[in-house]
Symmetry: C2
Subunit: 140 residues, 2 copies
């Protein structure tokens, strides 16, 4: 059984997760490329869309998204980090700008060369938006 | 970097993923309980719904789903297994009975006591259903 309780690792995963939303919100394509795994297999399920598999397909899709105008802040709310040794997954909600969160997301990370890098992003719609709450971030 | 190429491990993950859809389709609550991790942290994002975190919340939700009538076959199509050592994630599409797949899913597994057990299930709607195709299963 992989280690599931390393508090420092969980904090590092939470930071890697936050870095994804910062790169998206800033439209920073270089940061976005760097935060995805270099060698581990990667995939992505954008909201309502078919699966993208492989680094080229995933990064091309984010390149397009980041070039779209107008740019908007993609907020991450209530991240819950689940650690599984050198892999972790995060569940969270996503909201655009000041709007209530309208998406639920799963982000998967792997420890690669000492850095937590993203291997999978899956986001999909919520039946009703989640009003912004005081910080209820959880690390389980 | 965890091992990402072990073909036998990938096949075992694919089988664990298939077992989830068999248990769901059969309404087999005992099999569903057994296929989720016993000790690793678990979570679930049902379509359009808020996050469930922890074994009790997740299994309670599947217990309710499995008792719902009428029962229906939940098919898994085009599973893609991404192996990350003792953790793996699968992307696939889900369809009910003979209908085209209407959901995209991410399933995460961990090797626990020698068995690949589920730690996370996330399913969400597709913008358009995917017609049933000849077997194009991939193991990347």
């Amino acid at each position: 059984m992989p280690d599931t309780n390393d508090a420092a690792a969980k904090a590092a995963v939470k930071e890697a997760n936050a870095a994804f939303y910062r790169a998206f919100s800033a439209g920073d394509a270089a940061a976005m490329r760097d935060l995805w795994a270099q060698r581990a297999p990667i995939a992505c399920l954008h909201p309502m869309a078919q699966a993208l598999v492989g680094r080229e397909a995933v990064l091309e899709s984010f390149g397009k998204l980041l070039r779209q105008a107008p740019r908007f802040e993609l907020r991450c709310e209530q991240p819950v980090v689940s650690l599984l040794g050198e892999v972790a997954f995060v569940t969270c909600y996503e909201g655009a700008g000041g709007e209530p969160a309208h998406l639920a997301a799963t982000n998967v990370f792997v420890l690669e060369d000492g850095n937590w890098r993203m291997v999978h992003h899956h986001a999909g719609p919520l039946s009703s938006p989640i009003m912004r709450a005081p910080d209820r971030s959880l690390v389980n």
